[in-house]
Amino acid sequence: MHKAFKLKILFLSLPVAAGFLIFYIIPFFRSIGYSFLKSANSREFVFLQNYKEVLGNQYFRLALINTVIFSLVGVSLIMLLSILLSVSLVKLSSRFSFIKSFFVMPYVLPSASIIFFWQVFFDTESYSALTEINGLGGVFDVLPLYIIFLWKNIGINIILITSALTKITPEVYEAASLDGARGFKLHTKITLPLISSSLFFVGVLSFVNSLKIFKESYLFFSSNYPPEAAYMIQNYMNNHFYKLNYQNLSTAVVIFTLSMAVLIFIWYRLENTLSEGTF
Amino acid sequence: MKKLVSVLSILFLAAIVFFTLMGERLFYSTKPSVEIDRPIMIGDRVFLPKTAVFKEEDGEYIYTVTVRQGFSAELLTVTRVRLLSSMEDDTGYLGEDYMIVEAEGYTNSPTVISSSRPLKDGDMVVEG
């Protein structure tokens, strides 16, 4: 590949690279700068005071806890269900492979279209009564979000897991059954380790998708102030956007991005070592 | 299956384009256009232009207008109000184009002064 070709490619890549720099990278560093200022207009350097304020803010804490809970519970549930469904689906003959598509459809559908259905679905008297019960920590307030999250995102997981499952050659199963493995044991000891790198990726993808629930949350509750149990980091940030509270917002974004970066970096490393381990 | 999708898509597109071009026009042209004004109160008598009184089979009626802000435009709905009495203007204040009317609870609501088409209770109208 000659130099001229490489240079041309590089040149053609400039628009998207420049755009990426201009709209994502550079302003991100500027917002880090904002997080150290007192307010958007003054240039008063207040160091970590903003960070102390944000981390001490009860709403930020509430949002953080809610987001973490939602992600953990949501990802666990969706992983379980995705694996179960994938294992079932993969055993069907290819004639029925269209069934998979029914599960995938919610993933591409625009949220606004079907959110009305879900609003009506959860708007019954009996359900409102359930949400009134104290002491449950608002479980029923958030439940619609869990249901919608599962419904929307199981599809992509199923596609990824079934494709990994089909790559396991039948010989492996034959060898395992010769050794006496069957049913549940077969699955946990043989299948799962073989698709572990895919499962890991699906886990991360589900985690990223769990943070996108804001879209549905905003549309479902029709407001930026959902019930307490459903108030998440994204709501917190959106509200500060409306107040044009740049310094608070920048601080929250920096905290958030740093945490995510650490998590993603750990995942990146883990994923590399895992995929080296399997064949 | 592919054929069905193509046919449906073309029909869909045709409908969408049609209504994009004609939607607003249809909104206005399918409704009677009316002139709206408030009645004139002199003393305790209510005056309305003669054209505002509609003589129908079972009596005389006027139509009051309620305005509601819709998604795309103002929605005007008429309510049929029975007149208890009406007489020609004999006070000479406003002249022979006006009548003195009486109706239950009616003093100051926006009213249809004239309409391009006969009205019914609950009709939607447009001003103009």
């Binding site: 070709f5 709209f23 069934i99 009305f116 804001f214 974004v253 993603i264 | 399918t30 998604f71």
Partner: protein
């Protein structure tokens, strides 16, 4: 043998039932759109398109944004995807990691940088705000790199023997190999842009006229919401049905 058949049939029945349950919301929304105040028929659509005639304005807004974002982002991301896939240079993987990082961040983290820049360019509350940042999203670069990695190096070297023109190489060696993948990518980006909510809320806070349907749909009167929702998801469903297999095959390339 019979037992196995029974289990198979049972599994099939359960899966079918679940599948139907999954599209139940879609079916309900569509079916309910064909009745209006108790009468079956297309009345709700009339009410939607005539009484609420601005609905279509927002519909075309969505069409505009989704089309522009899809076309432009794929076009400009092709070279960079190729660069990450086929060219070797120092720091390539680290830079690519940054792309992955930004791609995986939720909207709220990238919204602020986007917003600051849009504000400084004076683009807020204009259609530019609702297209420009999304065009430079790393999603297209990411997937294109995945797809292009599967192209055998020899093919490219062979094409380079014939010509040093980038355009020709792409046209004859690269693009034909990944055509179905590009179609799927286009559909995925289209669906995601069609569903744009977070950005529209923030970048066009003060200008309602240019908003896409995704955020306005919640504000149309209740009696036309089913029809409004059906019209809004119709293009997506058509795309999905037409390109179902291609889509699913390419979704498998999501992996790193």
């Amino acid at each position: 043998m019979k037992r196995k058949r029974l289990y198979y049939a049972l599994r099939l029945a359960i899966l079918l039932a679940l599948a139907l349950l999954f599209i139940y919301p879609v079916l309900t929304t569509a079916i309910k759109s064909f009745s209006f105040e108790g009468k079956p028929g297309l009345y709700q659509y009339w009410e939607l398109f005539v009484t609420n005639f601005t609905y279509l304005k927002y519909f075309w807004n969505s069409v505009f944004y989704a089309s522009v974002i899809t076309a432009v982002s794929i076009l400009i991301s092709l070279p960079l995807g190729f660069l990450f896939a086929k060219l070797r240079f120092k720091g390539r993987d680290s830079i690519f990691f940054i792309f992955i990082l930004v791609y995986m961040l939720p909207f709220q983290a990238t919204l602020l940088p986007n917003y600051i820049q849009l504000r400084d360019f004076g683009m807020l509350n204009t259609p530019l705000a609702l297209t420009l940042p999304m065009m430079f999203s790393p999603f297209a670069v990411f997937l294109l790199r995945q797809f292009m990695k599967t192209i055998p190096d020899e093919l490219i070297d062979y094409a380079l023997l014939e010509t040093s023109s980038v355009l020709k190489t792409f046209r004859y060696a690269v693009l034909p190999q990944i055509k179905p993948a590009i179609v799927s990518l286009a559909i995925l980006i289209f669906c995601e842009s069609w569903n744009m909510v977070d950005q529209a809320l923030i970048f066009s806070m003060d200008n309602n006229d240019i908003l896409p349907l995704s955020v306005i749909l919640g504000e149309i009167p209740e009696n036309v919401r089913y029809a409004g929702g059906t019209v809004y998801m119709f293009p997506i469903i058509m795309l999905f049905v037409m390109f179902r297999e291609t889509l699913e095959q390419s979704m498998e390339a999501y992996k790193l």
